[in-house]
């Protein structure tokens, strides 16, 4: 790629890119070290759609692979430039362009950080529920591109439920606007929701029109420590069956209790196999009543310790700890392999039993946490050492976990996306015909195949 730096300087100015290896190191990565498998030739940081379109057209003309990037906080290798080329970093496109009170919508640029956006809308009395746990850094563009979600999905769904329209740049540099700011829209193919979750393989998402909700007046948090994983899983499915919908319902392992105890008092008993962390919302009275009813139900079922935390600042501590658990666990082991399998909620007890059985059979340390309320589980294999043999065993175990999830009517990814991590499993879930159709769609958007190559399906299916 001779002359790349000179060309990029012409397109985005000298401050808008870097080709220096010292800057590029970090752009090999997302939030999982072993997905860093390719060296980009440049990172480009456009300040808006016009610059981005120029870069896309240039990459198309020269057949340069182009990998869109938000915060690089993903867990599937979705934004790692495995074929080199250009990393297109969207973080300088960070304008909240409009918060429309009368229409309950907002229009944002792709690089807006989720937490900043939530703060801005909540300041005006609105609510944007999707809450991937990397919310302090992750970008709305990245959220849309992966259909990201988090604990609130149990009641409020994930990013996909909030995207009304998009602005996107096609690989040849053409700009399209899909969807609208209307709540109802029934004209043509729904390209908005085709691009949502396309993981940068079809086009570059530059703006999004998002739906807002009124902010619930109050929340109440509750926590239950359970003697067995099975009991925790049964509480989850019986709660859902009973018609109670918490705003968050998280299943955590007992190891998390020690982390909570560094921040909360009185300390929680570090016993049992699992704990449930829940939030209810509504009026203050409603939220408290639901939390108390849930607490009573947990006690009746045999929970070791149950607490209700109505004070929002105290509750915030529990949820802060929750959002940091994953990186904290990772920092304690040599390697952690995380899954993102989602099953129908009534199958969670069976799935939990299966996962624990696989861990035992394969002789691996496995934890099972997740957004149990929406069936999205994160089995994690924790390794104290890294070896080819161990990694092969972990891969085998994860394949078994995925197959177990699929057999229960589940899906291979609830919120992380496919990326590199689950490319070899896509056909397993969707079937050969559906993936073939997806590949034809990809060809229609991206005939030269520059967009995020090496992702979603295995290399042998790339054409």
């Amino acid at each position: 790629m001779r002359g790349l730096a000179k060309d990029l300087a012409r397109l985005v100015g000298p401050e808008g890119f870097s080709t220096q290896p010292e800057d590029l190191l970090v752009y090999r990565h997302d939030a999982i070290a072993y997905f860093a498998q390719g060296d980009p030739a440049a990172v480009v940081l456009p300040t808006g759609t016009t610059q981005a379109a120029k870069v896309m057209a240039y990459a198309s003309q020269h057949g340069i692979p182009l990998t869109p990037r938000g915060a690089g906080s993903g867990l599937s290798g979705g934004c790692t430039p495995v074929r080199g080329g250009i990393v297109l970093d969207t973080k300088r496109m960070k304008g909240i362009l409009e918060i429309n009170r009368g229409n309950l919508t907002a229009r944002v640029e792709a690089g807006v950080v989720l937490a900043d956006f939530q703060q801005a809308v909540e300041g005006q009395g609105f609510f944007y529920p999707p809450d991937p746990q990397s919310k302090s850094v992750c970008t709305l563009g990245g959220n849309v591109a992966t259909r990201a979600g988090g604990p609130r999905a149990v009641k409020y769904g994930t990013t996909v439920n909030y995207v009304l329209g998009l602005e996107a740049v096609l690989p040849d540099g053409e700009v399209i606007r899909t969807g609208s700011a209307c709540v109802k829209h029934s004209a043509g193919y729904d390209l908005t929701h085709l691009l949502t979750g396309s993981e940068g393989t079809l086009a570059l998402i530059t703006q999004a029109t998002l739906r807002l909700l009124p902010k619930p007046p109050a929340t109440c948090t509750a926590l239950a420590v359970c003697p067995t994983m099975d009991m925790a899983a049964r509480i989850v499915s019986e709660t859902i069956a009973g018609g109670v919908v918490p705003s968050m319902l998280e299943l955590l392992t007992t190891a998390s209790l020690a982390v909570f105890n560094r921040f909360v008092s009185p300390p929680l008993p570090e016993e049992g196999e699992a704990c449930l962390l829940m939030e209810f919302d509504g009026t203050a009275q409603e939220a408290l009543r639901q939390a108390q009813e849930m607490a009573d139900a947990c006690r009746d079922m045999g929970a070791i310790d149950v607490r209700v935390v109505p004070q929002t600042d105290e509750a915030a501590v529990y949820w802060m700890v929750r959002s940091r658990l994953y990186p904290l666990v990772v920092s304690r082991f040599k390697r952690v392999v995380t899954e993102d399998v989602t099953v129908p909620r009534d199958r969670i007890p069976e799935f939990a039993t299966k996962v624990m059985g696989i861990a035992q059979e394969m002789g691996l340390a496995m934890g099972l946490t997740g957004h149990a309320g929406d069936g999205n589980m994160h089995p994690t294999i924790r390794m104290d050492e890294v070896s080819d043999e161990l990694q092969a065993r972990a891969d085998q175990a994860m394949a078994k976990v995925i197959k177990a999830g699929l057999a229960l009517g589940g899906v291979i990814s609830g919120e992380h996306g496919v990326g590199l991590h689950k490319a070899q499993f896509l056909e397993l879930e969707l079937g050969r015909e559906q993936v073939a159709l997806m590949r034809r769609i990809k060809k229609a958007f991206d005939p030269t195949g520059i967009m995020n190559p090496g992702k979603i399906w295995p290399p042998e299916l790339e054409t």
Partner: protein, 398 residues
Amino acid sequence: MQGLEQYREALERCSQCGYCQASCPVFSQELLESYTARGRTLLIKAALMDGALPVGKRTKEIVANCLLCGTCAHTCPGGLPLDEIFVAARNQLRPSGPAASLKRSLHRKLMEQRGHPGALGKLGPLAKTMGLAPADLPQPAAHPFLADQPEVLKPSGQMRARVAWFVGCAANSLHLDTAQAVRKVLLANGVEVVLPQELACCGLPALAQGEVDMAQDLARRNLAALAAQEVDAVVTECTSCVLMLRDKMTRLFEPESPEAQAAQALAPKVMEVGAFLHKLGLSQAPQGRDISYTLHQPCHAAGFAAQVQAGLALLEQVPGADYRPMADPAACCGAGGDFFLKNQALSQGVRQSKMDQIERSRAEVVVTPCPACRHYLGLALGPDKVKHPLALLAGAYE
């Protein structure tokens, strides 16, 4: 300290989560990921530890382009000692040659003299005129504060407590009004003050340059001087001195070494002077002051923000003084010690966001216990508009 190698295990524990993007003031300006802790640690490991990349100009720039505010270390879910790793990287990248050693020995001299350049101070304005020193470099006072202080200051009334006062370099040679205010408030409230003559700079500026040996020498001297004192507390008006004496110094030496043990013993006695006074309680009620103020919380206080808040609670006892909080008191001002002298555009960008917040608070003055923040915000707001919190309290004892 054995250099970067001692941090290998910590570096290998980095989960790569990228949460450090949320807090880095340098990254928030540039939005280039090589300026996040994740980017810096990957580079440090590749270039300075594993030899996977040659060490060039860009590596040096990226390592230097950090305020060492330590916010990333507080944000890191894995609790990695990121700021210590960056100091060790600077240590490895220290320049050599005659010019660098001259600069190093001048720096050492300045720190040994507690921030006062002595006769060399006269060269400052000349060097600025000739373009040899940055125009924003503060000019020291002709006579340092400590030059005419006795070793023990007796309080006006009955003695309620006895403290050793670690006068920071800035209060000694730049911001004498801060030192005078601290003296006045302590003495008015029955505190006997010891000023140990053997003290030197706390050594934090040396660490910022990666001069670990120099920081250790200064720490040894300070530990010896303070160990001899029979006092209720060691107080200082400077946030960075608190950070060094309470926190950094405990990890500056080999674990279990006599110095490390001495530092561990000293650390819990060190308090920000406002927090100490808040705990002791004021024995003399301040008079009313018609003034509105906002607080800028220095980045170096991230690990002991409660002490800054306690200092602020003191000001709430001044009748008529109106506290107008800004949106994010802990957001960086851009100074970063002397970082602003070398990275003007970056620092000015960071400062501008702070200025917007200050303006929206509609306070007349900004109070901050950090002299670097004070100096740098003062360059933009005017020197009278930024004060040490105790200066505001001292004004209520006229």
